[in-house]
Protein backbone atom coordinates (compact mmCIF):
# COMPACT_ATOMS: atom_id res chain seq x y z
CA UNK A 1 0.00 0.00 0.00
CA UNK A 2 2.80 2.37 0.91
CA UNK A 3 4.65 1.62 -2.31
CA UNK A 4 1.50 2.15 -4.38
CA UNK A 5 0.85 5.47 -2.73
CA UNK A 6 4.43 6.52 -3.21
CA UNK A 7 4.30 5.66 -6.91
CA UNK A 8 0.99 7.42 -7.30
CA UNK A 9 2.44 10.52 -5.67
CA UNK A 10 5.43 10.56 -7.95
CA UNK A 11 3.20 10.22 -10.98
CA UNK A 12 0.68 12.81 -9.82
CA UNK A 13 3.31 15.38 -8.91
CA UNK A 14 5.17 14.95 -12.17
CA UNK A 15 1.91 15.28 -14.08
CA UNK A 16 1.07 18.42 -12.13
CA UNK A 17 4.35 20.22 -12.64
CA UNK A 18 4.79 19.13 -16.25
CA UNK A 19 1.29 20.21 -17.37
CA UNK A 20 1.35 23.21 -19.71
CA UNK A 21 -0.16 26.36 -18.21
CA UNK A 22 -1.88 27.59 -21.36
CA UNK A 23 -5.38 28.92 -21.72
CA UNK A 24 -8.11 26.81 -20.17
CA UNK A 25 -5.67 24.02 -19.14
CA UNK A 26 -4.53 26.07 -16.13
CA UNK A 27 -7.44 24.78 -14.02
CA UNK A 28 -6.59 21.17 -14.82
CA UNK A 29 -3.04 21.70 -13.58
CA UNK A 30 -4.37 23.14 -10.37
CA UNK A 31 -6.57 20.13 -9.81
CA UNK A 32 -3.63 17.81 -10.50
CA UNK A 33 -1.46 19.67 -7.98
CA UNK A 34 -4.22 19.47 -5.41
CA UNK A 35 -4.72 15.75 -6.08
CA UNK A 36 -1.01 15.18 -5.66
CA UNK A 37 -0.98 17.04 -2.36
CA UNK A 38 -3.96 15.10 -1.06
CA UNK A 39 -2.35 11.83 -2.10
CA UNK A 40 0.95 12.83 -0.55
CA UNK A 41 -0.78 13.70 2.70
CA UNK A 42 -2.74 10.45 2.62
CA UNK A 43 0.44 8.50 2.02
CA UNK A 44 2.07 10.19 5.01
CA UNK A 45 -0.90 9.29 7.22
CA UNK A 46 -0.88 5.68 5.98
CA UNK A 47 2.88 5.42 6.42
CA UNK A 48 2.62 6.72 9.97
CA UNK A 49 -0.23 4.32 10.73
CA UNK A 50 1.75 1.41 9.32
CA UNK A 51 4.79 2.38 11.37
CA UNK A 52 2.68 2.60 14.53
CA UNK A 53 1.12 -0.77 13.72
CA UNK A 54 4.54 -2.34 13.26
CA UNK A 55 5.70 -0.83 16.55
CA UNK A 56 2.60 -2.19 18.31
CA UNK A 57 2.93 -5.67 16.84
CA UNK A 58 6.61 -5.87 17.65
CA UNK A 59 5.97 -4.74 21.23
CA UNK A 60 3.14 -7.30 21.52
CA UNK A 61 5.48 -10.04 20.41
CA UNK A 62 7.48 -10.70 23.51
CA UNK A 63 10.89 -12.28 22.90
CA UNK A 64 9.65 -15.73 24.00
CA UNK A 65 7.03 -15.73 21.22
CA UNK A 66 9.57 -15.35 18.46
CA UNK A 67 10.21 -18.83 17.01
CA UNK A 68 13.81 -19.91 17.37
CA UNK A 69 15.90 -19.72 14.27
CA UNK A 70 16.74 -23.11 12.73
CA UNK A 71 20.37 -22.13 13.26
CA UNK A 72 19.78 -22.07 17.03
CA UNK A 73 18.67 -25.73 17.13
CA UNK A 74 21.24 -28.52 16.90
CA UNK A 75 20.86 -30.57 13.71
CA UNK A 76 22.31 -33.79 15.19
CA UNK A 77 22.47 -35.22 18.69
CA UNK A 78 25.56 -36.65 20.35
CA UNK A 79 24.91 -40.09 18.81
CA UNK A 80 24.78 -38.57 15.31
CA UNK A 81 21.02 -38.88 14.86
CA UNK A 82 19.59 -36.33 12.41
CA UNK A 83 17.20 -34.38 14.62
CA UNK A 84 15.50 -32.69 11.68
CA UNK A 85 14.36 -36.10 10.47
CA UNK A 86 13.22 -36.98 13.99
CA UNK A 87 11.16 -33.77 14.16
CA UNK A 88 9.71 -34.35 10.69
CA UNK A 89 8.61 -37.87 11.70
CA UNK A 90 7.10 -36.62 14.96
CA UNK A 91 5.14 -33.99 13.06
CA UNK A 92 3.25 -36.79 11.27
CA UNK A 93 0.34 -38.76 12.75
CA UNK A 94 0.90 -42.46 13.59
CA UNK A 95 -1.24 -43.46 10.58
CA UNK A 96 0.78 -41.21 8.28
CA UNK A 97 4.03 -42.69 9.56
CA UNK A 98 2.77 -46.23 9.02
CA UNK A 99 1.71 -45.33 5.50
CA UNK A 100 5.10 -43.71 4.82
CA UNK A 101 6.89 -46.81 6.10
CA UNK A 102 4.72 -49.10 3.96
CA UNK A 103 5.46 -47.03 0.86
CA UNK A 104 9.16 -46.94 1.72
CA UNK A 105 9.32 -50.73 2.08
CA UNK A 106 7.38 -51.18 -1.18
CA UNK A 107 9.94 -48.96 -2.94
CA UNK A 108 12.81 -50.95 -1.45
CA UNK A 109 11.17 -54.20 -2.58
CA UNK A 110 10.67 -52.76 -6.06
CA UNK A 111 14.30 -51.69 -6.15
CA UNK A 112 15.29 -55.23 -5.16
CA UNK A 113 13.34 -56.60 -8.11
CA UNK A 114 14.95 -54.14 -10.51
CA UNK A 115 18.55 -54.69 -9.40
Amino acid sequence: MRVLNFLFNVWAESEAWASPRVGGRRGVTGVAVMAASVQFGLACVINRADTEKMKTSSSEKAPHRIPPSPDDQPSHDAAGVDLMQVRDALAMTPAERLKALTEMMASIAQLGRIT
Partner: protein, 158 residues
Protein backbone atom coordinates in the same frame (compact mmCIF):
# COMPACT_ATOMS: atom_id res chain seq x y z
CA UNK B 1 3.67 -57.03 -0.48
CA UNK B 2 4.20 -55.81 3.08
CA UNK B 3 1.05 -54.12 4.39
CA UNK B 4 1.09 -53.89 8.20
CA UNK B 5 -2.09 -51.78 8.30
CA UNK B 6 -3.99 -54.56 6.50
CA UNK B 7 -2.71 -57.15 8.99
CA UNK B 8 -3.69 -54.97 11.95
CA UNK B 9 -7.12 -54.47 10.38
CA UNK B 10 -7.67 -58.26 10.23
CA UNK B 11 -6.53 -58.75 13.84
CA UNK B 12 -8.82 -55.98 15.09
CA UNK B 13 -11.72 -57.32 13.03
CA UNK B 14 -11.33 -60.71 14.73
CA UNK B 15 -11.14 -59.16 18.21
CA UNK B 16 -7.62 -60.41 18.86
CA UNK B 17 -6.10 -59.07 22.08
CA UNK B 18 -2.63 -57.96 21.00
CA UNK B 19 0.04 -55.30 21.38
CA UNK B 20 2.12 -54.11 18.45
CA UNK B 21 5.82 -54.29 19.39
CA UNK B 22 9.07 -54.03 17.39
CA UNK B 23 9.73 -51.76 14.42
CA UNK B 24 6.09 -51.02 13.64
CA UNK B 25 5.58 -49.96 17.26
CA UNK B 26 8.59 -47.65 16.92
CA UNK B 27 7.10 -46.17 13.73
CA UNK B 28 3.68 -45.61 15.28
CA UNK B 29 5.38 -43.99 18.29
CA UNK B 30 7.28 -41.52 16.12
CA UNK B 31 10.50 -43.18 14.89
CA UNK B 32 10.18 -44.50 11.34
CA UNK B 33 12.33 -47.62 11.24
CA UNK B 34 12.71 -49.83 8.18
CA UNK B 35 11.23 -53.22 8.99
CA UNK B 36 9.83 -56.11 7.01
CA UNK B 37 7.56 -57.63 9.59
CA UNK B 38 4.80 -56.86 12.02
CA UNK B 39 5.53 -58.12 15.55
CA UNK B 40 2.52 -58.74 17.76
CA UNK B 41 2.51 -59.88 21.36
CA UNK B 42 -0.80 -61.60 22.00
CA UNK B 43 -2.69 -62.94 24.99
CA UNK B 44 -2.42 -66.72 25.36
CA UNK B 45 -5.77 -67.38 27.02
CA UNK B 46 -8.09 -69.87 25.35
CA UNK B 47 -10.59 -67.34 24.05
CA UNK B 48 -7.94 -65.12 22.49
CA UNK B 49 -6.13 -68.03 20.86
CA UNK B 50 -9.44 -68.91 19.22
CA UNK B 51 -9.66 -65.36 17.83
CA UNK B 52 -6.03 -65.61 16.70
CA UNK B 53 -6.76 -68.82 14.81
CA UNK B 54 -9.66 -67.19 12.99
CA UNK B 55 -7.53 -64.18 12.09
CA UNK B 56 -4.71 -66.44 10.85
CA UNK B 57 -7.18 -68.21 8.60
CA UNK B 58 -8.28 -64.89 7.13
CA UNK B 59 -4.63 -63.94 6.63
CA UNK B 60 -3.76 -67.25 4.91
CA UNK B 61 -0.92 -67.60 7.41
CA UNK B 62 1.86 -70.16 6.92
CA UNK B 63 5.09 -70.81 8.77
CA UNK B 64 7.88 -68.96 7.00
CA UNK B 65 10.20 -71.95 7.23
CA UNK B 66 7.43 -74.36 6.19
CA UNK B 67 5.19 -72.61 3.64
CA UNK B 68 3.23 -75.85 3.26
CA UNK B 69 2.24 -75.74 6.94
CA UNK B 70 -0.53 -73.60 8.48
CA UNK B 71 -0.06 -72.74 12.18
CA UNK B 72 -1.75 -75.24 14.49
CA UNK B 73 -3.72 -74.24 17.56
CA UNK B 74 -1.39 -76.15 19.91
CA UNK B 75 1.54 -74.19 18.55
CA UNK B 76 -0.26 -70.86 18.91
CA UNK B 77 -0.94 -71.63 22.58
CA UNK B 78 2.78 -71.77 23.33
CA UNK B 79 4.89 -68.89 24.63
CA UNK B 80 7.35 -69.13 21.76
CA UNK B 81 7.78 -67.00 18.66
CA UNK B 82 5.76 -68.03 15.62
CA UNK B 83 7.32 -66.58 12.47
CA UNK B 84 4.59 -66.48 9.87
CA UNK B 85 4.03 -65.36 6.32
CA UNK B 86 0.60 -63.96 5.49
CA UNK B 87 -1.10 -62.58 2.40
CA UNK B 88 0.01 -59.11 3.60
CA UNK B 89 3.60 -60.02 4.40
CA UNK B 90 5.55 -61.25 7.39
CA UNK B 91 3.93 -61.32 10.80
CA UNK B 92 5.58 -62.61 13.96
CA UNK B 93 3.21 -63.80 16.67
CA UNK B 94 4.98 -63.63 20.01
CA UNK B 95 3.85 -65.39 23.16
CA UNK B 96 6.41 -63.40 25.12
CA UNK B 97 9.18 -60.85 24.62
CA UNK B 98 12.51 -60.56 26.41
CA UNK B 99 13.08 -60.69 29.28
CA UNK B 100 10.18 -63.13 29.63
CA UNK B 101 7.36 -60.61 29.46
CA UNK B 102 3.90 -61.71 28.39
CA UNK B 103 0.90 -59.73 27.13
CA UNK B 104 -0.42 -59.24 30.67
CA UNK B 105 2.91 -57.77 31.79
CA UNK B 106 2.97 -55.11 29.09
CA UNK B 107 -0.64 -54.22 28.41
CA UNK B 108 -0.47 -51.45 31.02
CA UNK B 109 2.41 -49.84 29.10
CA UNK B 110 0.56 -49.97 25.80
CA UNK B 111 -1.08 -46.96 24.17
CA UNK B 112 -4.16 -46.87 21.98
CA UNK B 113 -2.87 -45.36 18.74
CA UNK B 114 -4.61 -44.73 15.45
CA UNK B 115 -2.79 -47.04 13.06
CA UNK B 116 -5.02 -46.11 10.14
CA UNK B 117 -7.67 -43.48 9.56
CA UNK B 118 -10.41 -45.81 10.76
CA UNK B 119 -8.96 -48.01 13.50
CA UNK B 120 -6.90 -47.94 16.66
CA UNK B 121 -4.80 -50.68 18.23
CA UNK B 122 -2.62 -51.20 21.28
CA UNK B 123 1.00 -50.25 20.72
CA UNK B 124 3.84 -50.63 23.19
CA UNK B 125 5.03 -47.25 24.50
CA UNK B 126 8.37 -45.92 23.30
CA UNK B 127 10.08 -45.95 26.70
CA UNK B 128 9.22 -49.61 27.30
CA UNK B 129 10.16 -50.48 23.72
CA UNK B 130 13.63 -49.03 24.31
CA UNK B 131 14.01 -51.11 27.50
CA UNK B 132 13.02 -54.28 25.65
CA UNK B 133 15.34 -53.63 22.71
CA UNK B 134 18.15 -53.09 25.20
CA UNK B 135 17.26 -56.38 26.92
CA UNK B 136 17.09 -58.32 23.65
CA UNK B 137 20.48 -56.87 22.71
CA UNK B 138 20.75 -58.19 19.16
CA UNK B 139 22.84 -56.00 16.83
CA UNK B 140 19.75 -54.95 14.85
CA UNK B 141 17.99 -53.92 18.08
CA UNK B 142 21.00 -51.99 19.40
CA UNK B 143 21.44 -50.25 16.04
CA UNK B 144 18.08 -48.47 16.31
CA UNK B 145 18.45 -47.42 19.95
CA UNK B 146 20.04 -43.99 19.19
CA UNK B 147 17.08 -43.09 16.95
CA UNK B 148 14.54 -44.30 19.51
CA UNK B 149 16.25 -42.37 22.30
CA UNK B 150 16.46 -39.21 20.18
CA UNK B 151 12.75 -39.54 19.37
CA UNK B 152 11.86 -39.98 23.04
CA UNK B 153 14.00 -36.95 23.93
CA UNK B 154 12.41 -34.77 21.24
CA UNK B 155 8.89 -35.91 22.02
CA UNK B 156 8.88 -36.11 25.81
CA UNK B 157 12.13 -34.44 26.80
CA UNK B 158 13.29 -37.66 28.47
Amino acid sequence: MFDPAAMIRVLVKHDVEFIVVGGIAATLNGAIIATQDLDVLYALDESNVEHVMQALGALDARFRERPDLAPMRSRMESRGHKLLMTRYGRCDFLGHVAPDLAYEDLVADALELRATEELTCRVLGLKRLIEIKQAVGRPKDLAVLPLLRATLMERDGE
